[in-house]
Assembly symmetry: C2
Homo-oligomer: 292 residues x 2
């Protein structure tokens, strides 16, 4: 038995967004005017003020418990391991039939934690595929979710109505909802998101420990370096939580990548042109098919 939703219509729902950083602040701004009321919750009073001044929320507070009391939908927009803690803490405080969502970048552990929620709550994992290499409410913008994929990971106990409400929320933010099971999404993002981050980190490290001692380096860095290193500027707490809650998948992707680099360096050092050409041509073709 699953609890019927407290409010099945997004237009009438009181939506509480916990965490007003880049992701939460942007979601609030994107949903404002499309829901009954958007209430933002932050830890710091100055974030509350900033959210109100920027018009991203209808109301804002640092009092989490008070905000939850009347919530129809709660969205946890904090780092993954804060989400894990909050899911456990706030379950008993949520009103009957409340939809509890999150925006965490890894899903398997969060969904496992959501499984333990009391039966009067409707849980739904979420992961919007957007972001920036900067963080904080200062860089929040309502257009962030526009045309991006918004992964939803329902649990077995999630009712069709709860999933539909989550999909409506994703669409209202401008995104395209996509249902993906938690473990499967973690495997995929390990390669398409966490691996590029660590490659960017390694690249910055290599440049830092060799060429960057040459003052000319900064005059010659071209677009390739800038693009490949961009995500190395991502928020550290957020990325640490992501890596720590997806260790196995990230480890696999990294080992696979190290293996590929070892193959490539061998071909370069051996001067094995024929095989290197074949390899680079195959990769170029594959990239073209990825982004036609």
């Amino acid at each position: 038995m699953t609890a019927p939703l407290r409010c099945a219509s997004l237009q009438d729902a009181r939506v509480v967004i916990v965490g007003l950083g880049l992701m939460g602040g942007s979601l609030a701004g994107a949903l404002r005017g499309k829901c009954g009321c958007i209430i933002g919750v932050a830890r710091r009073e100055d974030t509350v003020q900033a959210a109100l001044e920027r018009g991203l929320v209808d109301e804002a507070t640092i009092d989490l418990h008070a905000a939850l009391a009347q919530a129809d939908i709660v969205v946890l927009a904090t780092p993954v391991r804060v989400i894990l803690r909050q899911v456990a803490e706030i379950g008993p405080l949520l009103p009957e039939g409340c939809l509890l969502m999150d925006l965490g970048s890894t899903k398997a552990q969060i969904v496992a934690e959501m499984l333990k929620l009391p039966p009067h709550v409707q849980p739904l994992g979420g992961h919007p595929m957007c972001g920036k290499e900067t963080s904080g409410i200062e860089v929040a913008e309502p257009g962030l979710y526009q045309d991006r994929t918004f992964i939803l990971s329902p649990l077995e106990r999630t009712s069709p109505e709860a999933l539909a409400l989550g999909e409506a929320l994703a669409r209202a933010a401008g995104a395209a909802p996509l249902v993906v099971e938690g473990a499967r999404q973690d495997f995929l993002v390990g390669t398409v998101s966490h691996l590029p981050y660590l490659l960017a980190c390694a690249l910055v490290r290599v440049a830092d420990s060799s060429t960057s001692h040459d003052p000319l380096m900064w005059k010659i860095v071209a677009g390739g370096f800038r693009d490949t290193s961009r995500v190395a500027g991502s928020d550290v707490t957020m990325m640490l939580d992501i890596l720590m809650t997806n260790r196995r998948q990230v480890g696999q992707a990294l080992h696979a990548c190290i293996g590929q680099l070892q193959r490539l360096v061998r071909l370069v050092e051996d001067g094995d042109e024929e095989r290197l050409r074949e390899e680079l041509a195959y990769i170029r073709q594959t990239r073209k098919e990825m982004y036609p």
Copy 2:
């Protein structure tokens, strides 16, 4: 003794650009109207036609020898190993006092080949730090060089007047000339340009051999993957020539990067949060200082 320039003023110079792909075609378009005459040389008649139709050149031909006969400046805009061959071939055909430049991405081997040119030629290595992951005259655009660094690698035999003419050419194309000795530039671009290319290649390969079998992957790829993999779409012949003429530096950069990735994967797999946080914070700060 070095030969005086045949024509020391860019405005009056007949500039022959050999190779009308992305780099040569764009340079032609950027310089047209700022020189006496821009003559493009291509291997294929349809490239000649395209260059004329797109208004990138004043004249164009497939007859290299005829074009060289009256040249004040010759710019070789072909792949690195074609440049190596052309430098050796055309030296004796160039008029007295002609400036011979190139746009090759690696410089040490080209500069070594230029050293052997007959004394009546003024040689100057060049490497504009711009490009695209697409190639061919279809994608050439006169704005490509705008505000980019244009590396110039003079030889000991290059006269100050010849270097000044090369600098004037770079500026006329909208770029900022920067004098860097050949071997030093190869070391720098090994890390800031060739390494990002190979990281992009490895990333595409990993995705191709694991997650890309899941049809959902293509719905969830986010900006990080797109940006980090972008340069894997670069022209294969161009990149092969670059890698083969910079093997030692590329090998060093790759080994350093593999070492960094092995450190990172160990921290992730050991769950060594404290050191991983330190490491990621240091990298984030470094990236921020790179692009303030």
